[in-house]
Amino acid sequence: MSTLEIKDLHVSIDTEQGTKEILKGVTLTIKTGETHAIMGPNGSGKSTLASTIAGHPRYNVTSGSILLDGEDVLEMGVDERARAGLFLAMQYPVEVPGVTMTNFLRTAKTAIDGEAPSLRHWTKDVKAAMENLKIDADFANRNVNEGFSGGEKKRVEILQMELFKPKFAILDETDSGLDVDALKVVSDGVNRASEQNEMGTLLITHYTRILRYIKPDFVHVFVDGRVAEQGGPELADQLEEEGYDRFLVKA
């Protein structure tokens, strides 16, 4: 079993108006096999937490720590974090021209595992995973995310998550822009990965809709860069009825 510990994390970004603090002391512990939902209004710092864990250079950690089984994640490069077992399903996956999905998936898998996957099994795995996520077979020959619709990009993120088998996946608003059918397909993928690989999941979302398909063990409510409240799945139901107003007034 692995543990991802976030302790009193403070994160700022540089803006034209100067430095702006976005995370103001976030503490959170996730174990493999658990699913944590992070909910909150826009601008509360949810996506900043996701990008900071992945190591996006835009975000500066001013204090606090992130530990993966006691190892200092903040000391690791972006690629090292991925190889250590962290995966970020991005909110806006970029298009990478000239690099085919096939080539990209194999290169990434090789980097993460430290050795090239056996060709025969790999091809079969990719094909099966694509079928599960209802991704058209010809996507394999297309360039990474190039010309994919918003929903297709999200499915391809989940495809990578299933193939790379991370210890912890952070899903940054993977549900946004998905219709109900796509939402089910994507949720099935997340559920498969957490059952089969004992994956820990940090599910970042604005809406409770996805929580009908992915059952969280814990719910954390983000407001203004802090965890304002946490609890079990019942907290999500409460939010669905009441919205975020209660927290905003308090803040």
Binding site: H56, G77, R81, M90, V94, V96, N103, T107, A111
Partner: protein
Amino acid sequence: MSETATAMSGEKARIGAPSIAGFTEEGENLSPVNETSSPIGGDAAKAHSHGPAASVPQASRGERPTSYDVEDFPALTGREEDWRFTPLKRLGALHKQAPTGAAPAVAADLSGGATVETAGMDDARVRSAGVPEDRVSALAWNAAAEATIVTVPAGAEGAAATLTIKGDSAEAAAQHLVVVAEPNSSAVVVLDHVGSAVLSQNVEIDVQEGARLTVISLQEWEDTAIHASSQQARIAKDAYFRHVTVSFGGDLVRMTPSARFAGPGAEAEMYGLYFADAGQHLEHRLLVDHAQPNCKSDVLYKGALQGENAHTVWVGDVLIRKNAEGTDSYEANRNLVLTDGTRSDSVPNLEIETGQIEGAGHASTTGRFNDEHLFYLMARGIDEKTARRLVVRGFLNEILQKIEDPQLEERLNETVESELAATEV
């Protein structure tokens, strides 16, 4: 095609755009390379940058003078429209006097019926497809001692000829090559330039009726080479011509390929790939002359630049003449800048004299390595070096795939790899 073209270019062909006095089609970006010889010089010349006052630009690309006589071309100053990006000082005097040194040796590897021979410059096949368009080409034309002629016999299927052109002298030399693809033949001809030379070359390519010909010109020179090459193709009725140029080596390489339609229903594809390192000047200026109705052309050149004073120039002239109804054409140039200190000039020119066309579009982009691409790939465990290579290789691969020869593709892939290995970014 026209729909894709419009969507891709984001910039519509300027049909009936008013001509503005003092402006050339190439806009107002005067390269500084030859400015020292400008009568005004320095910043003053740059501020007044709508072309050299000394020469009046032609109204149309189709009016550029052509001649076999050197004296029909005035001495070059470097301010001419078609020379303004070229550092003449580094041209090994190819523009000044007849290059009389011994031409690089040609070794031929033939199959499928293709033949190679040498002939006098008075041979009927010389002057069949080309005529000099500038002084450098005319000087070489008249200085060439003989012509090397590759013939693909009528009806031959899948013929191939590889000419390895190996330079081993720093003396300025002229070389004349002729490729004749007889009616209804199909062939691939490779011109493989290696070693080092100071070479001015004229290549005539006669694509006869119904023939399918691919010519691949590889510039894998050593770092010291200077190479000017005019490669002119005449494309007959219903013929198909593909030209692929790959420039990696050389101190200065200036390729001027052209495709001229001589009969209706023909097709031309012109592809290019270049990779400029520190100090290298790689220039490609091409022309597609739609002088016949119902012809198709597609142009795509892609280049990467790295290192201090790596300079690439791409000028693509597509001319659709009044009688070229039913033309379908597209041209694009894409440059990927890998480091600081490089310069990439990219100028697509599209002249359209008839509205009765299927499509015409052009596009040009020059961009830096995208940090978000890098983050995305690295967030999947791929280290930075591999991620960069993946993107550059992918970028250039589109052209390598057009070569359709796995062995050659493999070799060029290795060259790209070694170029990338030299980057410490």
